[in-house]
Symmetry: C2
Subunit: 248 residues, 2 copies
DNA sequence: ACCTGTGAACCCCTTCACAGCG
DNA sequence: CGCTGTGAAGGGGTTCACAGGT
Protein backbone atom coordinates (compact mmCIF):
# COMPACT_ATOMS: atom_id res chain seq x y z
CA UNK A 1 0.00 0.00 0.00
CA UNK A 2 2.54 2.55 1.09
CA UNK A 3 5.73 3.12 -0.79
CA UNK A 4 7.33 -0.22 -1.50
CA UNK A 5 10.93 -0.97 -0.53
CA UNK A 6 12.87 1.18 -2.91
CA UNK A 7 16.44 0.03 -2.97
CA UNK A 8 17.74 -3.31 -1.80
CA UNK A 9 18.62 -3.34 1.87
CA UNK A 10 22.15 -4.61 2.53
CA UNK A 11 22.38 -7.93 4.30
CA UNK A 12 24.40 -6.42 7.11
CA UNK A 13 21.71 -3.86 7.71
CA UNK A 14 18.95 -6.47 7.72
CA UNK A 15 20.75 -8.32 10.47
CA UNK A 16 20.76 -5.22 12.63
CA UNK A 17 17.16 -4.17 12.13
CA UNK A 18 15.86 -6.68 14.71
CA UNK A 19 18.30 -5.26 17.23
CA UNK A 20 17.03 -1.74 16.65
CA UNK A 21 13.47 -3.04 16.82
CA UNK A 22 14.17 -4.60 20.21
CA UNK A 23 15.49 -1.29 21.55
CA UNK A 24 12.58 0.63 20.10
CA UNK A 25 10.18 -1.78 21.76
CA UNK A 26 11.75 -1.09 25.14
CA UNK A 27 11.60 2.66 24.52
CA UNK A 28 7.93 2.40 23.66
CA UNK A 29 7.24 0.56 26.90
CA UNK A 30 9.18 3.25 28.75
CA UNK A 31 7.03 5.89 27.15
CA UNK A 32 9.86 7.55 25.23
CA UNK A 33 8.44 9.41 22.23
CA UNK A 34 11.52 10.52 20.35
CA UNK A 35 15.09 9.32 19.98
CA UNK A 36 18.25 10.48 18.22
CA UNK A 37 20.56 8.25 16.20
CA UNK A 38 23.15 8.80 18.91
CA UNK A 39 20.89 7.46 21.65
CA UNK A 40 19.61 4.53 19.62
CA UNK A 41 23.18 3.65 18.75
CA UNK A 42 24.00 3.48 22.44
CA UNK A 43 21.10 1.14 23.11
CA UNK A 44 21.80 -1.11 20.16
CA UNK A 45 25.54 -1.23 20.67
CA UNK A 46 26.62 0.28 17.37
CA UNK A 47 27.75 3.74 16.30
CA UNK A 48 25.48 6.60 15.29
CA UNK A 49 26.60 6.79 11.66
CA UNK A 50 25.67 3.17 11.17
CA UNK A 51 22.24 3.72 12.69
CA UNK A 52 21.52 6.61 10.36
CA UNK A 53 22.73 4.70 7.28
CA UNK A 54 20.72 1.66 8.25
CA UNK A 55 17.54 3.61 8.93
CA UNK A 56 17.92 5.55 5.70
CA UNK A 57 17.36 2.30 3.77
CA UNK A 58 13.88 2.13 5.25
CA UNK A 59 13.05 5.65 4.14
CA UNK A 60 13.34 9.15 5.56
CA UNK A 61 11.53 8.65 8.80
CA UNK A 62 13.55 11.02 10.95
CA UNK A 63 13.14 14.73 11.58
CA UNK A 64 16.26 16.88 11.25
CA UNK A 65 17.12 18.70 14.39
CA UNK A 66 14.90 16.37 16.41
CA UNK A 67 15.41 12.66 15.84
CA UNK A 68 13.08 9.74 15.15
CA UNK A 69 9.55 9.20 16.40
CA UNK A 70 9.93 5.95 18.32
CA UNK A 71 6.50 4.51 17.64
CA UNK A 72 6.41 5.40 13.98
CA UNK A 73 9.91 4.11 13.36
CA UNK A 74 9.10 0.84 15.13
CA UNK A 75 5.98 0.46 13.04
CA UNK A 76 7.86 0.96 9.79
CA UNK A 77 10.56 -1.42 10.89
CA UNK A 78 8.09 -4.10 11.94
CA UNK A 79 6.40 -3.78 8.61
CA UNK A 80 9.70 -4.22 6.80
CA UNK A 81 10.54 -7.23 8.95
CA UNK A 82 7.15 -8.75 8.33
CA UNK A 83 6.23 -8.72 12.00
CA UNK A 84 2.87 -7.06 11.64
CA UNK A 85 1.23 -10.43 11.87
CA UNK A 86 2.53 -13.39 13.85
CA UNK A 87 4.42 -16.00 11.89
CA UNK A 88 3.83 -19.64 12.75
CA UNK A 89 6.95 -21.61 13.62
CA UNK A 90 7.41 -25.38 13.74
CA UNK A 91 10.09 -26.93 15.91
CA UNK A 92 11.46 -30.26 14.77
CA UNK A 93 13.29 -32.36 17.34
CA UNK A 94 12.01 -32.48 20.90
CA UNK A 95 15.27 -33.10 22.70
CA UNK A 96 16.71 -30.75 25.30
CA UNK A 97 16.96 -27.82 22.97
CA UNK A 98 13.61 -28.43 21.28
CA UNK A 99 11.93 -28.51 24.66
CA UNK A 100 13.61 -25.29 25.70
CA UNK A 101 12.61 -23.54 22.49
CA UNK A 102 9.04 -24.78 22.79
CA UNK A 103 8.77 -23.26 26.25
CA UNK A 104 10.62 -20.08 25.42
CA UNK A 105 8.22 -17.21 25.87
CA UNK A 106 10.41 -14.67 24.15
CA UNK A 107 8.97 -15.63 20.76
CA UNK A 108 5.36 -14.69 21.30
CA UNK A 109 6.27 -11.12 22.21
CA UNK A 110 8.41 -10.72 19.15
CA UNK A 111 6.22 -11.73 16.25
CA UNK A 112 6.23 -15.51 16.33
CA UNK A 113 3.99 -18.33 17.51
CA UNK A 114 5.25 -21.82 18.08
CA UNK A 115 2.44 -23.55 16.24
CA UNK A 116 3.72 -27.12 15.99
CA UNK A 117 6.15 -29.53 17.62
CA UNK A 118 7.50 -32.49 15.72
CA UNK A 119 9.62 -35.52 16.50
CA UNK A 120 10.48 -38.82 14.87
CA UNK A 121 10.52 -40.83 18.10
CA UNK A 122 7.17 -42.67 18.49
CA UNK A 123 7.48 -42.53 22.27
CA UNK A 124 7.53 -38.74 22.12
CA UNK A 125 4.74 -38.33 19.60
CA UNK A 126 1.49 -37.57 21.39
CA UNK A 127 3.25 -36.03 24.37
CA UNK A 128 1.57 -32.87 25.54
CA UNK A 129 3.60 -29.67 25.90
CA UNK A 130 1.62 -26.67 27.04
CA UNK A 131 -1.10 -26.22 24.47
CA UNK A 132 0.57 -28.39 21.89
CA UNK A 133 0.87 -32.08 21.22
CA UNK A 134 4.00 -33.51 19.61
CA UNK A 135 3.28 -34.73 16.09
CA UNK A 136 5.09 -37.31 14.02
CA UNK A 137 7.56 -36.29 11.35
CA UNK A 138 5.42 -38.31 8.94
CA UNK A 139 2.67 -35.77 9.45
CA UNK A 140 4.92 -32.85 8.53
CA UNK A 141 3.26 -31.96 5.23
CA UNK A 142 -0.16 -31.94 6.88
CA UNK A 143 1.08 -29.95 9.86
CA UNK A 144 2.76 -27.35 7.67
CA UNK A 145 -0.36 -26.91 5.58
CA UNK A 146 -2.66 -26.88 8.57
CA UNK A 147 -0.78 -24.20 10.48
CA UNK A 148 0.64 -22.32 7.52
CA UNK A 149 4.10 -22.81 8.94
CA UNK A 150 6.44 -20.04 7.81
CA UNK A 151 9.63 -21.06 9.57
CA UNK A 152 11.05 -24.45 10.47
CA UNK A 153 13.46 -24.80 13.37
CA UNK A 154 15.75 -27.83 13.31
CA UNK A 155 16.75 -29.00 16.79
CA UNK A 156 17.57 -32.60 15.96
CA UNK A 157 20.81 -34.57 16.12
CA UNK A 158 23.23 -33.64 13.35
CA UNK A 159 22.83 -36.98 11.63
CA UNK A 160 19.25 -36.34 10.57
CA UNK A 161 19.41 -32.59 10.03
CA UNK A 162 19.70 -32.80 6.25
CA UNK A 163 16.82 -35.22 6.02
CA UNK A 164 14.64 -32.98 8.15
CA UNK A 165 15.61 -29.97 6.05
CA UNK A 166 14.64 -31.84 2.90
CA UNK A 167 11.29 -32.75 4.38
CA UNK A 168 10.64 -29.17 5.47
CA UNK A 169 11.48 -27.88 2.02
CA UNK A 170 9.29 -30.50 0.37
CA UNK A 171 6.46 -29.50 2.67
CA UNK A 172 6.79 -25.95 1.43
CA UNK A 173 8.73 -24.27 4.23
CA UNK A 174 10.99 -21.58 2.81
CA UNK A 175 12.80 -20.36 5.94
CA UNK A 176 14.87 -22.61 8.15
CA UNK A 177 16.79 -22.02 11.35
CA UNK A 178 19.28 -24.81 11.97
CA UNK A 179 20.63 -25.57 15.44
CA UNK A 180 22.12 -28.93 14.52
CA UNK A 181 25.90 -29.21 14.24
CA UNK A 182 25.80 -30.08 10.59
CA UNK A 183 25.94 -28.25 7.35
CA UNK A 184 22.72 -28.54 5.46
CA UNK A 185 21.97 -27.69 1.86
CA UNK A 186 18.73 -26.16 0.67
CA UNK A 187 17.53 -24.87 -2.70
CA UNK A 188 18.36 -21.29 -3.65
CA UNK A 189 14.89 -20.05 -2.87
CA UNK A 190 15.04 -21.19 0.74
CA UNK A 191 16.53 -18.96 3.44
CA UNK A 192 18.75 -20.63 5.97
CA UNK A 193 20.26 -19.39 9.17
CA UNK A 194 22.64 -21.36 11.28
CA UNK A 195 23.33 -21.32 15.01
CA UNK A 196 25.91 -23.78 16.30
CA UNK A 197 26.55 -23.50 20.01
CA UNK A 198 29.86 -25.32 19.94
CA UNK A 199 31.07 -23.10 17.13
CA UNK A 200 30.27 -20.02 19.20
CA UNK A 201 32.28 -21.36 22.10
CA UNK A 202 35.18 -22.26 19.86
CA UNK A 203 35.33 -18.75 18.47
CA UNK A 204 35.51 -17.42 22.01
CA UNK A 205 38.16 -20.00 22.77
CA UNK A 206 40.31 -18.72 19.93
CA UNK A 207 40.37 -15.18 21.23
CA UNK A 208 40.94 -16.33 24.76
CA UNK A 209 43.90 -18.32 23.54
CA UNK A 210 45.56 -15.10 22.53
CA UNK A 211 45.64 -11.70 24.12
CA UNK A 212 42.57 -9.66 23.69
CA UNK A 213 41.37 -9.09 20.19
CA UNK A 214 38.94 -6.89 18.48
CA UNK A 215 36.12 -8.55 16.75
CA UNK A 216 32.78 -7.50 15.60
CA UNK A 217 29.64 -9.47 15.82
CA UNK A 218 25.99 -9.03 15.85
CA UNK A 219 23.75 -11.44 14.02
CA UNK A 220 26.82 -12.13 11.83
CA UNK A 221 25.38 -9.33 11.06
CA UNK A 222 25.36 -9.15 14.66
CA UNK A 223 28.05 -6.97 15.95
CA UNK A 224 28.00 -6.26 19.64
CA UNK A 225 28.50 -3.08 21.53
CA UNK A 226 31.16 -1.06 19.89
CA UNK A 227 34.25 -0.97 21.91
CA UNK A 228 34.18 -4.29 23.63
CA UNK A 229 35.58 -7.36 22.08
CA UNK A 230 32.46 -8.73 20.58
CA UNK A 231 33.55 -11.84 18.90
CA UNK A 232 30.77 -12.33 16.52
CA UNK A 233 32.20 -12.95 13.22
CA UNK A 234 29.38 -12.23 11.18
CA UNK A 235 29.97 -14.55 9.43
CA UNK A 236 28.44 -13.37 11.31
CA UNK A 237 25.79 -14.40 12.20
CA UNK A 238 25.40 -15.62 8.61
CA UNK A 239 23.49 -15.75 5.45
CA UNK A 240 24.56 -17.72 2.45
CA UNK A 241 22.96 -18.64 -0.76
CA UNK A 242 22.09 -22.28 -0.75
CA UNK A 243 22.34 -22.66 -4.49
CA UNK A 244 26.10 -22.95 -4.38
CA UNK A 245 25.94 -25.82 -1.98
CA UNK A 246 24.93 -28.51 -4.31
CA UNK A 247 23.64 -31.60 -2.60
CA UNK A 248 26.70 -33.75 -2.12
CA UNK B 1 57.05 -23.85 21.44
CA UNK B 2 56.31 -24.24 17.77
CA UNK B 3 56.07 -21.27 15.47
CA UNK B 4 53.78 -18.71 17.02
CA UNK B 5 50.88 -17.16 15.10
CA UNK B 6 52.58 -15.07 12.48
CA UNK B 7 50.09 -12.64 11.07
CA UNK B 8 46.77 -11.67 12.57
CA UNK B 9 43.97 -13.95 11.48
CA UNK B 10 40.98 -12.04 10.08
CA UNK B 11 37.87 -12.17 12.19
CA UNK B 12 35.87 -13.65 9.36
CA UNK B 13 38.36 -16.48 9.06
CA UNK B 14 38.32 -17.17 12.79
CA UNK B 15 34.57 -17.61 12.63
CA UNK B 16 34.94 -20.25 9.96
CA UNK B 17 37.73 -22.27 11.54
CA UNK B 18 35.35 -24.12 13.87
CA UNK B 19 33.26 -25.12 10.88
CA UNK B 20 36.29 -26.56 9.13
CA UNK B 21 37.29 -28.28 12.35
CA UNK B 22 33.90 -29.94 12.57
CA UNK B 23 34.22 -31.28 9.04
CA UNK B 24 37.75 -32.47 9.66
CA UNK B 25 36.56 -34.28 12.77
CA UNK B 26 34.00 -36.18 10.74
CA UNK B 27 36.57 -37.02 8.11
CA UNK B 28 38.89 -38.37 10.77
CA UNK B 29 36.14 -40.61 12.11
CA UNK B 30 35.47 -41.80 8.58
CA UNK B 31 39.12 -42.68 8.19
CA UNK B 32 39.80 -40.18 5.41
CA UNK B 33 43.50 -39.33 5.34
CA UNK B 34 43.71 -36.53 2.82
CA UNK B 35 41.41 -33.83 1.51
CA UNK B 36 41.53 -31.10 -1.12
CA UNK B 37 40.36 -27.53 -0.61
CA UNK B 38 37.58 -28.29 -3.07
CA UNK B 39 36.26 -31.19 -1.02
CA UNK B 40 36.58 -29.42 2.32
CA UNK B 41 34.76 -26.45 0.83
CA UNK B 42 31.88 -28.71 -0.12
CA UNK B 43 31.66 -30.09 3.42
CA UNK B 44 31.91 -26.71 5.10
CA UNK B 45 29.57 -24.96 2.73
CA UNK B 46 31.96 -22.34 1.39
CA UNK B 47 34.00 -22.03 -1.78
CA UNK B 48 37.44 -23.49 -2.35
CA UNK B 49 39.27 -20.19 -2.69
CA UNK B 50 38.04 -19.17 0.71
CA UNK B 51 39.17 -22.43 2.25
CA UNK B 52 42.67 -22.02 0.87
CA UNK B 53 42.92 -18.39 1.98
CA UNK B 54 41.64 -19.26 5.43
CA UNK B 55 43.97 -22.21 5.89
CA UNK B 56 46.92 -20.20 4.66
CA UNK B 57 46.61 -17.99 7.75
CA UNK B 58 47.41 -21.02 9.88
CA UNK B 59 50.52 -21.80 7.90
CA UNK B 60 51.43 -23.88 4.86
CA UNK B 61 50.03 -27.18 5.93
CA UNK B 62 48.95 -28.42 2.51
CA UNK B 63 50.83 -30.36 -0.15
CA UNK B 64 50.61 -29.08 -3.71
CA UNK B 65 49.17 -31.57 -6.10
CA UNK B 66 47.74 -33.56 -3.19
CA UNK B 67 45.77 -31.63 -0.61
CA UNK B 68 45.79 -31.46 3.17
CA UNK B 69 46.52 -34.23 5.65
CA UNK B 70 43.27 -34.41 7.60
CA UNK B 71 44.68 -35.36 10.95
CA UNK B 72 47.57 -32.93 10.89
CA UNK B 73 45.41 -30.05 9.73
CA UNK B 74 42.86 -30.77 12.44
CA UNK B 75 45.61 -30.83 15.04
CA UNK B 76 46.98 -27.48 13.94
CA UNK B 77 43.53 -25.99 13.85
CA UNK B 78 42.64 -27.30 17.30
CA UNK B 79 45.83 -25.85 18.63
CA UNK B 80 45.00 -22.47 17.13
CA UNK B 81 41.49 -22.62 18.54
CA UNK B 82 42.80 -23.55 21.95
CA UNK B 83 40.97 -26.86 21.97
CA UNK B 84 43.86 -29.05 22.91
CA UNK B 85 42.67 -29.02 26.46
CA UNK B 86 39.06 -28.82 27.60
CA UNK B 87 37.84 -25.40 28.63
CA UNK B 88 35.54 -25.17 31.64
CA UNK B 89 32.25 -23.41 30.99
CA UNK B 90 29.79 -22.00 33.52
CA UNK B 91 26.14 -21.60 32.66
CA UNK B 92 24.26 -18.85 34.47
CA UNK B 93 20.48 -19.07 34.49
CA UNK B 94 18.80 -22.42 34.87
CA UNK B 95 15.60 -21.73 32.98
CA UNK B 96 14.52 -23.68 29.92
CA UNK B 97 17.54 -22.74 27.87
CA UNK B 98 20.02 -23.14 30.71
CA UNK B 99 18.71 -26.63 31.35
CA UNK B 100 18.98 -27.54 27.71
CA UNK B 101 22.53 -26.26 27.51
CA UNK B 102 23.50 -28.10 30.69
CA UNK B 103 22.30 -31.37 29.20
CA UNK B 104 23.65 -30.75 25.73
CA UNK B 105 26.25 -33.40 25.04
CA UNK B 106 27.65 -31.70 21.98
CA UNK B 107 30.02 -29.66 24.13
CA UNK B 108 32.10 -32.42 25.65
CA UNK B 109 33.07 -33.76 22.23
CA UNK B 110 34.12 -30.36 21.02
CA UNK B 111 36.54 -29.08 23.61
CA UNK B 112 34.35 -27.89 26.46
CA UNK B 113 33.17 -29.11 29.83
CA UNK B 114 30.16 -27.67 31.57
CA UNK B 115 31.81 -27.30 34.95
CA UNK B 116 29.30 -25.21 36.86
CA UNK B 117 25.63 -24.26 36.88
CA UNK B 118 24.47 -21.08 38.53
CA UNK B 119 21.14 -19.46 39.34
CA UNK B 120 19.87 -16.66 41.52
CA UNK B 121 16.65 -18.40 42.54
CA UNK B 122 17.10 -19.97 46.01
CA UNK B 123 14.61 -22.71 45.15
CA UNK B 124 16.82 -23.83 42.28
CA UNK B 125 20.11 -23.64 44.13
CA UNK B 126 21.08 -27.07 45.35
CA UNK B 127 19.14 -28.85 42.64
CA UNK B 128 21.05 -31.74 41.15
CA UNK B 129 21.58 -31.91 37.39
CA UNK B 130 23.57 -34.90 36.23
CA UNK B 131 26.90 -34.63 38.02
CA UNK B 132 26.45 -31.02 38.96
CA UNK B 133 24.63 -29.12 41.65
CA UNK B 134 23.23 -25.67 40.96
CA UNK B 135 25.15 -23.01 42.87
CA UNK B 136 24.08 -19.56 43.96
CA UNK B 137 25.07 -16.47 42.01
CA UNK B 138 26.58 -15.22 45.25
CA UNK B 139 29.14 -17.99 45.03
CA UNK B 140 30.18 -16.99 41.53
CA UNK B 141 33.67 -15.73 42.41
CA UNK B 142 34.40 -18.92 44.33
CA UNK B 143 33.00 -21.14 41.60
CA UNK B 144 34.99 -19.37 38.88
CA UNK B 145 38.20 -19.72 40.85
CA UNK B 146 37.50 -23.29 41.87
CA UNK B 147 36.84 -24.56 38.36
CA UNK B 148 39.01 -22.11 36.46
CA UNK B 149 36.03 -21.08 34.41
CA UNK B 150 37.11 -19.83 30.99
CA UNK B 151 33.75 -19.02 29.46
CA UNK B 152 30.52 -17.76 30.97
CA UNK B 153 27.21 -18.47 29.26
CA UNK B 154 24.34 -16.13 30.09
CA UNK B 155 20.94 -17.80 29.83
CA UNK B 156 19.01 -15.52 32.14
CA UNK B 157 16.09 -13.15 31.54
CA UNK B 158 17.12 -10.00 29.70
CA UNK B 159 16.54 -7.81 32.73
CA UNK B 160 19.44 -9.26 34.70
CA UNK B 161 21.84 -9.99 31.84
CA UNK B 162 23.99 -6.91 32.37
CA UNK B 163 24.27 -7.57 36.07
CA UNK B 164 25.31 -11.15 35.46
CA UNK B 165 27.84 -10.02 32.88
CA UNK B 166 29.31 -7.56 35.37
CA UNK B 167 29.60 -10.29 37.98
CA UNK B 168 31.25 -12.66 35.54
CA UNK B 169 33.75 -10.01 34.53
CA UNK B 170 34.46 -9.13 38.16
CA UNK B 171 35.03 -12.79 38.89
CA UNK B 172 37.67 -12.86 36.16
CA UNK B 173 35.82 -14.43 33.24
CA UNK B 174 37.07 -12.96 29.98
CA UNK B 175 34.82 -14.71 27.45
CA UNK B 176 31.04 -14.45 27.48
CA UNK B 177 28.34 -15.98 25.34
CA UNK B 178 25.06 -14.09 25.75
CA UNK B 179 21.72 -15.72 24.94
CA UNK B 180 19.63 -13.07 26.68
CA UNK B 181 17.68 -10.61 24.53
CA UNK B 182 19.57 -7.63 25.78
CA UNK B 183 22.61 -5.70 24.80
CA UNK B 184 25.33 -6.02 27.36
CA UNK B 185 28.50 -4.01 27.73
CA UNK B 186 31.82 -5.45 28.80
CA UNK B 187 35.32 -4.03 29.11
CA UNK B 188 37.52 -4.03 26.01
CA UNK B 189 39.54 -6.99 27.17
CA UNK B 190 36.51 -9.24 27.39
CA UNK B 191 35.26 -11.18 24.37
CA UNK B 192 31.55 -11.27 23.84
CA UNK B 193 29.40 -13.25 21.46
CA UNK B 194 25.71 -12.82 21.11
CA UNK B 195 23.00 -15.25 20.09
CA UNK B 196 19.44 -13.96 20.11
CA UNK B 197 16.90 -16.50 18.94
CA UNK B 198 14.17 -13.97 18.22
CA UNK B 199 16.61 -11.90 16.18
CA UNK B 200 17.45 -14.93 14.06
CA UNK B 201 13.78 -15.56 13.36
CA UNK B 202 13.19 -11.92 12.52
CA UNK B 203 15.99 -11.93 9.98
CA UNK B 204 14.38 -14.95 8.33
CA UNK B 205 11.06 -13.18 8.48
CA UNK B 206 12.47 -10.23 6.58
CA UNK B 207 13.61 -12.35 3.67
CA UNK B 208 10.40 -14.33 3.65
CA UNK B 209 8.52 -11.08 3.46
CA UNK B 210 10.12 -10.45 0.10
CA UNK B 211 11.03 -12.70 -2.72
CA UNK B 212 14.05 -14.86 -2.17
CA UNK B 213 17.26 -13.11 -1.36
CA UNK B 214 20.87 -13.94 -1.27
CA UNK B 215 22.57 -13.66 2.03
CA UNK B 216 25.69 -14.99 3.50
CA UNK B 217 26.13 -16.29 6.95
CA UNK B 218 28.26 -18.54 8.97
CA UNK B 219 29.15 -17.65 12.54
CA UNK B 220 28.75 -14.20 11.26
CA UNK B 221 31.31 -15.58 10.44
CA UNK B 222 28.92 -18.21 9.89
CA UNK B 223 27.91 -18.34 6.35
CA UNK B 224 25.98 -21.31 5.20
CA UNK B 225 26.37 -23.45 2.17
CA UNK B 226 27.22 -21.34 -0.80
CA UNK B 227 24.42 -21.09 -3.18
CA UNK B 228 21.44 -21.33 -0.94
CA UNK B 229 19.99 -18.32 0.68
CA UNK B 230 21.78 -18.52 3.92
CA UNK B 231 20.60 -15.60 5.81
CA UNK B 232 23.32 -15.25 8.26
CA UNK B 233 24.58 -11.82 8.16
CA UNK B 234 27.84 -12.49 9.58
CA UNK B 235 28.12 -11.02 10.37
CA UNK B 236 28.39 -13.69 11.59
CA UNK B 237 28.32 -14.41 14.03
CA UNK B 238 29.59 -11.17 15.58
CA UNK B 239 32.51 -9.79 17.40
CA UNK B 240 32.75 -6.25 18.55
CA UNK B 241 35.04 -4.41 20.82
CA UNK B 242 33.32 -3.67 24.07
CA UNK B 243 35.32 -0.56 24.79
CA UNK B 244 33.17 1.57 22.56
CA UNK B 245 30.07 0.61 24.44
CA UNK B 246 30.53 2.70 27.48
CA UNK B 247 28.31 1.70 30.34
CA UNK B 248 25.24 3.84 29.97
C1' DA C 1 48.71 -33.21 -14.47
C1' DC C 2 47.11 -31.55 -10.03
C1' DC C 3 46.29 -28.70 -6.13
C1' DT C 4 48.13 -25.28 -2.96
C1' DG C 5 49.37 -20.59 -1.77
C1' DT C 6 48.89 -15.78 -2.81
C1' DG C 7 49.04 -11.12 -5.10
C1' DA C 8 45.65 -8.28 -7.21
C1' DA C 9 41.02 -6.92 -8.50
C1' DC C 10 36.68 -6.45 -6.87
C1' DC C 11 32.91 -5.65 -3.87
C1' DC C 12 30.48 -4.69 0.23
C1' DC C 13 30.27 -2.38 4.44
C1' DT C 14 31.74 0.99 7.62
C1' DT C 15 33.10 5.52 8.79
C1' DC C 16 33.74 10.29 7.86
C1' DA C 17 32.22 14.72 7.11
C1' DC C 18 29.09 17.91 5.68
C1' DA C 19 25.16 19.68 3.13
C1' DG C 20 20.28 20.10 3.95
C1' DC C 21 16.34 20.83 6.57
C1' DG C 22 13.60 21.78 10.68
C1' DC D 1 21.74 25.39 16.44
C1' DG D 2 20.75 20.33 16.12
C1' DC D 3 20.27 16.15 14.00
C1' DT D 4 19.24 13.68 9.85
C1' DG D 5 20.46 11.89 5.36
C1' DT D 6 24.11 10.86 2.17
C1' DG D 7 28.14 11.28 -1.11
C1' DA D 8 32.76 10.06 -0.74
C1' DA D 9 36.64 7.94 1.36
C1' DG D 10 38.52 4.04 3.61
C1' DG D 11 38.99 -0.88 5.16
C1' DG D 12 38.05 -5.76 5.15
C1' DG D 13 36.80 -9.77 3.00
C1' DT D 14 35.86 -12.47 -1.06
C1' DT D 15 36.97 -14.00 -5.50
C1' DC D 16 39.94 -14.41 -9.36
C1' DA D 17 43.66 -16.21 -11.65
C1' DC D 18 48.01 -17.89 -11.85
C1' DA D 19 52.69 -18.76 -10.25
C1' DG D 20 54.96 -22.39 -7.67
C1' DG D 21 55.67 -27.07 -5.92
C1' DT D 22 55.10 -32.18 -6.05
Amino acid sequence: MVDRPRRPIPEATVARLPVYARSLGELTRDGVATISSEQLAELAGVNAAKVRKDLSYLGSYGTRGVGYDVEYLLYQMSRELGLTQDRPVAIVGMGNLGHALANYHGFSDRGFVVAALIDADPTKVGERMGELVVRSIAELPAVVAEHQIAIGVIATPAAVAQDVADRLVDAGVRSILNFASAMISVPPDVSLRVVDLAVELQILSFYQQRGKVTLAAVPDPMRSPEGSTVVEADDGPTAVTAAAVARS
